[in-house]
């Protein structure tokens, strides 16, 4: 089975083709084009969607070419139907609909967050993990229980990715700025006290954001260092609480912020303490990519037929804990 997956929830437009044999998946190609806002600014949904629309034909043909696959060889097409930015989601959906109707392929709208998890599981071999999903759009701790991914903890306001991006933009960088902040933080070891807010299994970052902005004029390096230490320790504690509550023996980290070395160091140390196996999605597939959408399309197709064109929706607010998972 060959599936073309189309991702366009936020800054990334990506097409990927995965071949599935029995339960094994092999990524044949994964091509991305990332919208970069001007320095110090965030994603402008209209500009991002324009970027996606302009780049979609090139990304698509490069994806087919790299995979060595002709469009007629594809068995199905899947697209990220949410959650994400409306204008961006619509581009992916339009590309998917056009291919589906012109080439008469089954079409599957899938949940972007679920894609992160399922691709992470496929690539790492994790079986029944507690999942930490950390990105620009999500900060959630989840576990699978009676047919759905249940939220055991999450952010009460902004996400970890937003926190890092907003600080980065405030300092004048272009988002996404996680890597840049990590690099600056590594140059300091001076900890400045910042608000640490863990509420049960949940975290809240909004106060930390304002407080970090306040200490930035006194030194960007120590501010970035203290920000990372505080925010990641909060995540660590929330994760630890969920691990101890659920008793899971695996931890899987997915999403763009999974690429951060300091965060994964903290999580590795936690896993050691709880005798738990640690899995992290490989760096190139941790962030948004077509592969997560393609793989989820393949999983869906093992249990369902595609949807009618008239039912190919996009939904900006589509929480993962409302999606039933039959496979």
């Amino acid at each position: 089975m060959l599936c073309l997956g189309i991702e366009s929830t936020a800054h990334t437009f990506s097409c990927a083709i995965i071949e599935k044999k029995r339960k094994q998946g092999r990524i044949l190609s994964d091509v991305r084009k990332i919208y970069r806002p001007p320095e110090g600014e965030g994603i402008h949904p209209r500009e991002a969607s324009r970027h996606h629309a302009e780049n979609s034909p090139r990304v698509l043909s490069e994806c087919l070419q790299k995979a060595g696959v002709k469009i007629n060889d594809l068995d199905l097409v899947s697209y990220a139907a949410g959650p994400g930015l409306g204008p961006c989601l619509r581009i992916g959906a339009v590309v998917a609909r056009s291919l589906s109707s012109y080439y008469d392929m089954p079409i599957f709208p899938v949940n972007h967050a679920l894609g992160h998890i399922e691709l992470g599981k496929m690539l790492t071999g994790a079986k029944d993990p507690l999942v930490l999903l950390v990105s620009g759009g999500h900060t959630m701790i989840l576990a699978f229980l009676s047919k759905k991914w249940r939220v055991f903890g999450e952010t009460l306001d902004i996400t970890l990715g937003q926190l890092l991006d907003q600080i980065g933009r405030y300092a004048g960088f272009a988002s996404p700025c996680g890597t840049k902040i990590e690099e600056i933080a590594s140059r300091s070891s001076t900890y400045v006290q910042l608000p640490y807010v863990v509420k049960g299994n949940d975290v809240s970052f909004s106060g930390l954001l304002s407080a970090t902005k306040r200490i930035m004029p006194k030194g960007l390096e120590s501010a970035c260092f203290s920000l990372q230490e505080t925010a990641f320790s909060m995540m660590g504690e929330a994760t630890e609480r969920a691990l101890s509550f659920t008793g899971k023996k695996e931890l899987l980290v997915v999403g763009g912020v999974a690429a951060n070395k300091r965060l994964s160091d903290i999580l590795v140390s936690i896993c050691k303490r709880h005798n738990c196996a640690f899995f992290v999605a490989p760096k190139e597939y941790a962030g948004d990519c077509g592969s997560q959408i393609s793989w989820l399309g393949l999983l869906e197709s093992s249990k369902k037929n595609g949807v009618q064109l008239a039912d190919t929706f996009v939904r900006q607010s589509w929480r993962i804990d409302t999606v039933e998972v039959p496979y």
Binding site: S233, D265, R315, D321
Partner: protein, 214 residues
Amino acid sequence: MCGRLLSLLKLLKRGAEADIYLTTWNGMKSILKIRKKKDYRNEILDTRIRTLRTIREAKMISEVKSFGVSTPLIYFVNQKKCEIFLQYVSGKLVKDLPGNVIIKICKEIGRIVGILHKNGIMHGDLTTSNFILTKERLIIMDFGLAQKTEKVEDHAIDLRLFKEVLNSAHVDIVGKSWQSFLHGYKKIVGGTRMERVIAQVSVIEKRGRYANVV
């Protein structure tokens, strides 16, 4: 003395923020809760969190006793080592009880949370694994995240967390146990206050990511 004590320790549970040991205190069966240093945490931050929570837990437990909430007794606190010796309580964690029992117990949980809130205290970590059902009564524990607060928002955070726990760990009975909880809560705080807190719970939920706002 300490050395002898330590040799009698038996690790019961490696919790999220503390290790729980079974030991004795002056001849009584006791639980030793140690908030150990976490290597992954920056030292200044780590010391601050551990000390603050140890003190807070001890203080809050004594305080809530004064208005009749059942918690384990505190035998001894070592602030420097972040250790608390607590009374050993024999019973079952509510989390591990059968669903129909949890539904019933939730009313009592609601009552206890109501008493806490009425007296200006939020628990901060309301999960079903922080309640023990003994032969006589329901015991609430883990006050490390507790706070003195009268704010509707803070009380709503307690309720939201408990709802989240039911929604994730006890999916099959979430509707009935939540109703049962509210029933008990209402008895203590009254209908008007409960409505206000519940309205605030929705506000918090809407603040969440991808909540149904669009």
